[in-house]
């Protein structure tokens, strides 16, 4: 009886893993199957055609996503690095603990709420949806992730390295920046890449900040297109070719996101496990 229970529990556990893998397999299978037929050089290099007609591509969406990610990273990376360094080096007090806690809370925050925040502050003030608003929203989402991964990768730097730097008579901030941070570099980069992967698929905040566009980049204060928005719009259109385009855009997006993720995983195999599971 007890052996049977043991076997049963084992079987149920394996079944649960199976249940979780099925949707993943199906998503990947369908996206690849339907997406590949949509891909063509023209699809990747031209903007959408006339509304409601077949033809055209997603080049503007790819460009938009790239611009948004670059701008968001430019804002989030320095801030995230600094707060991560601060938490790791000086964060062992009440203030540090509070910030770390809020940081964790913010990591799990619904992204649409961030969208509303940025809408209220920037979009209303600028009287229109804009590229810069979208980049700010994405930066706010990236910030806690980068902070956390930076902190954790600095923490696993052996204190002997820090001691050695100090023993040479270097000041503390100098030791932190040139010795500790460069030792922790691969962990920090991992965190940044994971943060980029996470926000490149964000849709809800973009809906409230950049709106989407049929054209190429047109200035920081203008709406811009983005891959996730293209997928969302295509899903709502009643045409077969729109679905086709949606699958194509989904394939490009998923290749990008999973490529980043899997690449990072392979490159840092075995290390930084604790930092990945929370992102």
């Amino acid at each position: 009886m007890r052996r049977f229970q043991d076997k049963l529990a084992y079987g149920l556990g394996a079944l649960c893993v199976g249940v979780a893998i099925v949707p993943l397999a199906s998503i990947l299978f369908e996206v690849v199957r339907n997406g590949v037929s949509a891909l063509s050089p023209q699809f990747l290099t031209s903007p959408p055609g006339v509304f409601g007609q077949a033809g055209g591509g997603i080049a503007n969406a790819i460009q938009g996503t790239a611009i948004l990610l670059a701008l968001a990273s430019a804002m989030a990376v320095p801030f995230g690095l600094l707060s991560g360094v601060y938490l790791a080096e000086f964060g062992d007090n009440k203030y540090g603990r509070t910030v770390r806690f809020l940081n964790d809370v913010l990591t799990e925050f619904p992204s649409i709420v961030i969208g509303i925040l940025v809408y209220s502050i920037i979009v209303l003030a600028m009287r229109g949806f804009s590229t810069i608003a979208g980049a700010v929203a994405l930066a706010i989402i990236m910030l806690p992730i980068i902070t956390r991964t930076t902190e954790e990768s600095i923490k696993i730097v052996p204190s002997s390295i820090r001691d050695a730097a100090m023993a040479l008579g270097i000041r503390r901030w100098r030791a932190t920046i040139s010795v500790v941070l460069s030792t922790a570099r691969s962990g920090v980069i991992t965190g940044i890449l994971l943060a980029i992967a996470r926000v490149s698929g964000e849709t809800a905040p973009l809906l409230l900040t950049v709106l989407g566009s049929q054209f190429f980049f047109n200035g920081l204060s203008q709406p811009i297109a983005a891959l996730p928005l293209t997928i969302y719009r295509d899903a709502n259109l009643p045409y077969a070719f729109a679905r086709q385009q949606g699958w194509g855009a989904a394939l490009v997006l998923i290749l990008m996101v999973l490529g980043l993720n899997i690449g990072v995983r392979l490159a840092t195999r075995g290390r930084y496990n604790s930092l990945r599971s929370r992102v």
Binding site: Y10, G13, L15, C16, T203, L208
Partner: protein, 292 residues
């Protein structure tokens, strides 16, 4: 971080003042939603309930599966498949939610209709929660897609919590002749209960705030029709309504203010849930000597 959270609270509160001014408490408990000029009425109750019901389905389905995965991967699976499987499950977390939505709309929905809804509706169609035509764009589909989406979160954190249980606990159980399952039950689960609870609540936080995938499969009902009376009926959640209507709201309009009000309610939910969950998980991992 402090600034961002405080700013969010202030901005959302200020933005929603006109809506609360206009409707008072009936903004939260009202059920009509109409943007017809001159007769504008906005009430949030159906969407609050929609959020609660879809999240409850997600928890009911997703948490047991996640626990099974966590136990299997932390305690039972042979070492050689343990790591690849955990990686696969984590990839599930990396899939963008809009792609879940797209897949849900064009693939998953038909699984639900054929495998779950049609049989249920044929055999139990008279019971209230199974009433309606199985169509697939409904509360059940939204809840189940959320269940899939919270699996990686809940299972990877539960797994971490279980692996933080000192091995002396397991050895003690083995030494009195327990089978592997009994070791898990007595030694591990008992010990990590509050951490697992925290992981489940974190999953709840994710389900409550999830927007795109839900928006794309829930059918987007409005007003009293959005009351979640049956699983096979179109619904609406707080976040999906915001995503749907925001494009139509003009600056300064009551609609915009009402949507920000919905955002405020969502913010409050998310804040309470996340603070609570983080406290639970933190406590457990800290006690085990793994200071986060």
């Amino acid at each position: 971080m402090v600034v961002i959270l405080a700013l969010t609270a202030v901005v959302l509160t200020r933005g929603s003042i006109p809506a609360f001014d206009a409707y008072g408490i009936s903004f939260v408990f009202g059920s009509d939603w109409s943007a017809v000029a001159g007769r504008e009425v906005y009430g949030a109750l159906p969407y609050i309930l929609g959020t609660l019901v879809t999240s409850a389905i997600a928890m009911g389905v997703g948490v047991p599966i996640s626990l099974g995965i966590a136990i299997f991967l932390a305690e039972m699976a042979p070492g050689s498949i343990r790591n690849p499987l955990s990686q696969l499950i984590e990839i599930l977390a990396a899939v963008p939610s809009v792609i879940y939505g797209f897949w849900g709309l064009l693939v998953f929905r038909f699984w639900i209709v054929d495998l779950i809804e049609k049989p249920l509706s044929r055999d139990f169609g008279t019971i209230a929660v199974f009433q309606g035509t199985p169509f697939g764009l409904d509360i059940l589909t939204a809840g189940l897609i959320l269940a899939i989406m919270i699996i990686p979160t809940v299972s990877s954190i539960s797994k971490e919590v279980m692996m933080a249980v000192p091995s002396s606990q397991r050895e003690a159980a083995y030494s009195i002749g327990a089978t592997r399952w009994e070791v898990v039950r007595i030694g591990v689960l008992n010990y990590s209960r509050s951490g697992i609870f925290g992981a489940a609540i974190l999953g709840l936080g994710r389900a409550v705030g999830e927007t795109m995938a839900v928006t794309m499969v829930i059918g987007n009902a409005i007003g009293p029709a959005a009351f979640p009376g049956s699983l096979f009926q179109s619904g609406q959640t707080l976040s999906s309504l915001i995503a749907n209507e925001f494009g139509e709201a003009n600056p300064g309009s009551l609609l915009l203010s009402s949507l920000i009000g919905l955002g405020l309610i969502l913010f409050a939910f998310a804040l309470i849930i996340n603070v609570f969950a983080q406290l639970m998980v933190w406590k457990v991992l800290r006690v085990k000597g793994r200071v986060e």
